[in-house]
Amino acid sequence: MALEVSRTAAGLQLDLTGEWGMREFAALEEQLAALELNQGQKVQIVTQRLTSLELSGAWALRQFLGRARAAGATVNFQGAPPDQLRLLEETLKESEAPASAASPAAAAPSVETEALVTIGRHAVSAGQDLVQGLAFVGRTVTTFLGSIGSAQRLRPISVARHVYDTGITAVPIVALIAFLISVIIAYMSAQQLRGLGVDIYVVDLVTIGVLRELGVLLTSIIVAGRSGSSFAAELGSMQLNEEVDALIATGVDPFEALVVPRVLGLVIALPLLTIVADLIGLLGGALLCRFLLDMPLSQYVHRVNEAISATTFWVGFMKAPVFAMLIALAGCYRGMQVRGSARELGRLVTVAVVQAIFFVILADALFAVLFMELNI
């Protein structure tokens, strides 16, 4: 018990005992609040048995004194009032007024206006985002065009590093996914086509599916998750660390040093990864046909040759650099947007990956329509 209450002839006597600190704060406030205070009542506070009075304990006592004064009671300390109370007064008197100004929600708007305001804000920020995104793309392109012809300004070492990071190190996972996907297609289609007695067409499905669409699309989605996020996180933490500002202050254009090498690196790496995915995909199809359909390898190769036309591979392959650009730009743009806080970094990395995947699929759909119209 940190507070002993006794009634004397003069009025209330409060004995403060033990420790009055943070850990006791909740209990103290409760006990002090339970005390009844009347007009003209005398309250005597004894602090001799207090072992320690921390700032929070003093705060609780001060709140009580204020309440007693408001109720019209008179409070006396036996001996001098504790030093801590004086410290509190000193700290608080300097600017009592702004404290109330600091308390939020002066006049809360109604729900309807708030909804409208939220919609409006989102619309405006979406519009600004679009404009800024286009400006970012524009600046990347002009920086790139400006540095063409100068080996130094194109930063080949940096580009090579990004080809390695986004390309070479991604080969195992891309190969594995391509293999599994082609096995899935072959297996599913074999089950359907076998009933019709045309299981030879499994080869056509695998070949065309992997080469035209799935090879490049799945590779892009994996790369968006791997490299889109790493671009955004890397540039974002450089922003937080003021490293980007340091570059600018040194007279280095961050687009030239950071953005263009990443875009170029991925534009080189993703098509190469696509070739890997295509090869492994065809290999997976071959294995499944060999063991599930008992098709000899020579027949598989022959059939593949018949299934593909001159354009099949190129239709898939030429999408890769476009997807690479979308992924790299989304990652770099969001990364460069990071300001101020770690939370912002996390949010924008998420946005970067989601948008990269979204743009890749959207572009793939547009390509599909385009190729259909062109009859390829």
Partner: protein, 257 residues
Amino acid sequence: MSEPVLQVQGLVNRFGRQLVHDGLDMEVGQDEVFGIVGGSGAGKSVLLRSILGLQRPQAGVVRINGQDITRLSEAQLRPIKARYGVAFQQGALYSGLTVLQNVQLPMIEHLDLPAAARDELAILKIRLVGLPADAAVKYPAQLSGGMVKRAAIARALSLDPGLLFLDEPTSGLDPVSAAAFDDLVLYLQKQLKLTIVMITHDLDSIFRTCNRVGVIVNRRMESDTLERIVDHPDPWIQAYFHGERARARLAGAAHGA
């Protein structure tokens, strides 16, 4: 002297083949302002990290209020951590939270307080370190360097600790702000009866605030009162306290005294 608040005995820290501390001893008593000094790379930060339990030393004992923290589990450390506050060099304020929320975070983690009381106590701490009340709703990115340092102290004081660690509190501040900051440290020490351990390079700061100083030399610590440590024969200590930069300060101190 009563039981030391912080006691380090025979501390050994080694990274691979690099020996940072080799039998370092250190003792900080009640109500002292203890300054830790040492050359760059002498292991000041490693010492602080060992004391805070951020890093297990290879050997040695670190006692805070009599308890050896090197032998305690994370769960057993929790109540001990609630009784000291740390202000890191760069502030280490949580960038996604306002100053008010930063100060409240230790309260939320360690105590079960009603929200209103939490607000009031946090505002009190923010005022105590000399920040204007409107700083409470700002995010760390919106604060100046000096304000970040003050906010870091407010957060360190969140739970009314008796022991406060400051890592280079005046680094990166202009001399006027640094002096004001030293005054704040002294004021808080006196008013709240704090024991303060601070790592610092700033000679002005040492002469203004510290009453005992520990210098890390040769992987050990030489500690003494400020008046006596300046006469220690070790060449590094001599260079530190009697070098070009220090001489003016010593002369000034002699004038003032």
